[in-house]
Amino acid sequence: MSNSSHGAQQSQTQAKLVLLGDMGAGKSSLVLRFVKGQFFEHQESTIGAAFMTQTVTVDDHVVKFEIWDTAGQERYHSLAPMYYRGAAAAIIVYDMQSQQSWQRAKSWVRELQRQGNANLVIALAGNKSDCKDMRKVSKEEAEAYAEEQKLSIFLETSAKSGECVNDLFYSIANKLPKQARATPQEGGRGGVVLDANAGQNRQKSQCC
């Protein structure tokens, strides 16, 4: 092992990530697949919101996601701002087998854009890609929409098969640090907190 390989600049980002979307779109399943690698056919519906953390490493950067998995039922809508406020990233999930779910996703996009955090990384995830025959929302349509709305990420995922689930979270992690460094979050309650210890690593690279 050469010495130069372990002196890389390290930093850690803490990022609040919120999942939004219609009920039954698969938000909790996506999180469960990502965090635990599990899938339950009959995932019970979320009440209020659920919290999980997951740390990922992208290149030399560590991102600790603090994931808020919100309830999709309309009655919990009033909670949503609590969770997307100050978030660094949001995943808007829709069920590609449901037009209603797709419409709801679009309204979430609007809501997020209205609340005006320009730094928010918005990812659009068309879930349940494992059964494409039942598809009601075409990939092209969603892609075009994501592009038009300048969403950072669009992926079709399957919490059931695991397809693109990690990609989704890692893409977000990839988009985060740059943005976090570029502008400090407004309002003092930014979703991204660079680790105070970053860069204080006493061990510096010493090559002869």
């Binding site: 092992m1 372990h6 803490q14 965090v35 009440i47 919290f51 740390t55 909670l79 100050g86």
Partner: protein, 961 residues
Amino acid sequence: MNSSSKSSSLRKVEFPSSSSRGGGAFASSSSPQNSCSSWETFDDDDVHCNDENDDDDARARRSVRRRPSLADAQPSNRDRTTEENNNAEKSASARNHHPISEDVAFARMNKPNDVRLRNLFFQRDVSVYSSVAETARIRANTFNANGKKPNEKLDIRDWLMNDDGDDDAVVDVYAVGFQEIVPLQVQKVLKVQDVERDARMWDEKILRCLNSVSARNGVGGGYVKITSVQLVGVYLTIFVREELIRKGSIRERPIATKVATGFSLGFGTGSMNVKLGNKGGCCALIKIRDTTIAFVCAHLAAGSKEEDAKRRNADAAEILQKCVFAPDEDEQGEDERDFRSSNSIRWEKPSRTRTIHDATVSIFFGDLNYRLNAPKDDVLEHVRLKSNEAELNASSFRASASNYIPLLKHDQLLNEMQSGNVLPGYREGSIEFPMTYKFKPGTSRYSGIGRAATSSSKDNINNNESDYENDFNDEFDDGESNSTKADDKEEKKKRAPAWCDRVLWKGDDLHLLGYRDHDEIYHSDHKPVSATFELKCRTVDYNGRLERMLTDLQRKLDAEETNRAHATKVVLESGTMCDFGEVHYCERVTRRIQFKFPRNNHGNAVSFTLGFHGRGGSYDDLVNDTEDDAPKWVRDITPAKATVSAETSVFVDISAFVGGAGTIRSVGASNSLDAVLVIRAEHCQDAYIALTGVYAQNPIFGAPLRSLPPSVFPPDVPSVISTLIDSLFAFGSISKNDLFTQKSSEKERMNAVNNCLRLCGVSQSAFNDMHSSSSSSLLDDFTALSVMSSSKPSSSVVELALALLEFFHALPEPLFGDGSLFTGCFRDEEYMDEAARKQRLENVLRQSLEKTAYASATYTLAFLTNYVGRNSPSSSTRLESVCRAFANAWFSKADASTFSLVRRQEIVKCLLSSSGNTAATTHHQQLNDLFSTTNSTTTTNSNPTNSAAGAAKVTRSLLDL
């Protein structure tokens, strides 16, 4: 003895705890700090680790899936605590297993400060993230030279190279440790040059021997010295096969250091520099591939008394603790630099200061000086009995292992190690050679056994170096009588033979091949000892397996954190919903929710708060926004915060109440009452209760003015206003001074609203029924009903007045809005008399308000003017109360208004004295006249129906006009 039999006969029996661990590790289980060690053997560690992962996952899965019931919350937490403690202990003991130092590992992990990750990392086995790239043969040789220089005759070849093994595999690393390389006399010790000269003599001799043999055997390249370190008499020098450097197996510059123990020269000044260094250790760290090997050559405290063993323990601990390998230490001697420059090889500089704990494996050897815990005379007698009487030498004694094996049970080192008092984690091969000390120099006879003072003591060799023969060493340490050169005395000291010279090791990657003494060396009063090892040299799979392992560990930690956040869950005994059903205007609906907190390990008392905020970023951050997010229609939460006992049901009453324009607005067009109540308690997951209900829209209160059915007369005035005002007249409001002064309670408001509805001929439920059918028909019905009221208002005039105020309060848009329409009236107010301002205000009203609003305003104003009266004694108090009440009812609430309350009151007052709508005024006058006569004949509260009917009659008659 062949090597395989030796290595397989490691001393398992004496350390029963090690058997469970396999691999013959007797190291740690008896020592307290190692009691939880989870070292695994290498043969099947992949399996082990996978198992462990599975267990972790399974545990995480269990605790998440099985929404923790009350019963198991507590024990599971307690388990976790002890588990964490264990982990900490494990990590302390498991470090030596890792071929990469922790800093390197964590540099790779990008997370240098996470202690939990670090601890987890050190519980994992190296084989998870590294693989064996090559094996190296390592030979550790130790020799207490008794202060004698090497001479030509001394043949060290067997000692250096012969391990009795069948295979003649080439040794890659020779670590040669000396003790008493110089005689431990004060004057000698201080002559640094002499000391160094002697060390160099040994180096030359060794190198010559190694290279001559390797040349003869055709081993290419020969050996080079790569580092050495000397502490007075202790000398550690390390030779490696050039090939290892050339092919890049050894790339990093070795670091050497020394730790002095023993006497302090300044007698208690305490400074390290004046430690005499008559005892101590020399340490070196070399790295083959990613495996770091520490060599510690030690000379521990001497002395045959039982308590001296403790001093040796302390010495060993001190050496290990103080041995710090600083990378900045000057480059080593000339010889090795020459070798490298001639081969254009540069050492990589060690990246940081290391300690012995950074070593993957370590070999601790030297004259450890441990004796036998048995009476000296008994030991000597035993040796004498077992030896050939005539020879009295070790050769006959060593002929049968049964001669010395029984003595091993008295060996201090074995006993101390077994008790965990010294060198925790280290192991030793089984001793199959006789005691290595103390011999008569030049012989293989144990000192103190034969008849005193034989003349043979100085025979054979070393006569020319007699000045080195004093054993100052023991004089320093034992504090016995001053030295004498006489062998007589030496004989009389009668030291019991002991296994002073030992080789111990630590680390599962080392495999002992041979462990023996070399009785052919007559040079000293000690016999040399050697041990041969095979070392698995690992390379770390940084980007593959290490990274995967770290990702897995991180995942595990995240799961733990998630589980902790979810540790306790509120039990919602009344469910996750709280339904208020249909909520009517000004009608409070109260529901009771019930929940309890399971017991957790944070004590029995739980403090909770109920609100509409959850937690923010990370789970423990509360959202502390100042803005009140509680929906306006949620009236009371009692208690909103409290401290309760766990496992006790908590009852909380929550009310829904819709009253006034603000709440109606908050309900919104959907008329649905929706909010999520968050129950928050420390160490507890947030619980959410969905509050739900339907606001039963009111036909009058909260409806926009224009949507209300107009009265027949006066035109444009909504019938509800005219009805209320007519009724007020009818029921004798004029005689009541406190019509608008009373503060209304919620209940009074509700009654007022209901009475008003009844007066207007609608009940809320009737309205809702109608509403569901068709709105146009409703309006028709309503118009009819409002005029042809057949209900019996039991209301007092105060309630009617209240209803009037409530009506204005409930308007979606206040009658005068935020008041900005009047701004112009006050522009140059100084030059304006009251009449002029009145004129202006009236103009503004006429021009700015749409006609229904205008009609409503003027009609009400006319009534109020009438009520206040002109010159009656109560006029001023009435005026004041009316101004105050309507300044609030007609304008937006305080902070949304353009004007202060005082100014608003002024406006109302001004308007009151005006007589804008003459028709309305006339109408009121007539009404007043009519009812004042009626009232004079009837008591105030009598027969209101007649009065209402009378009012209706009057209204109709006026309409006819």
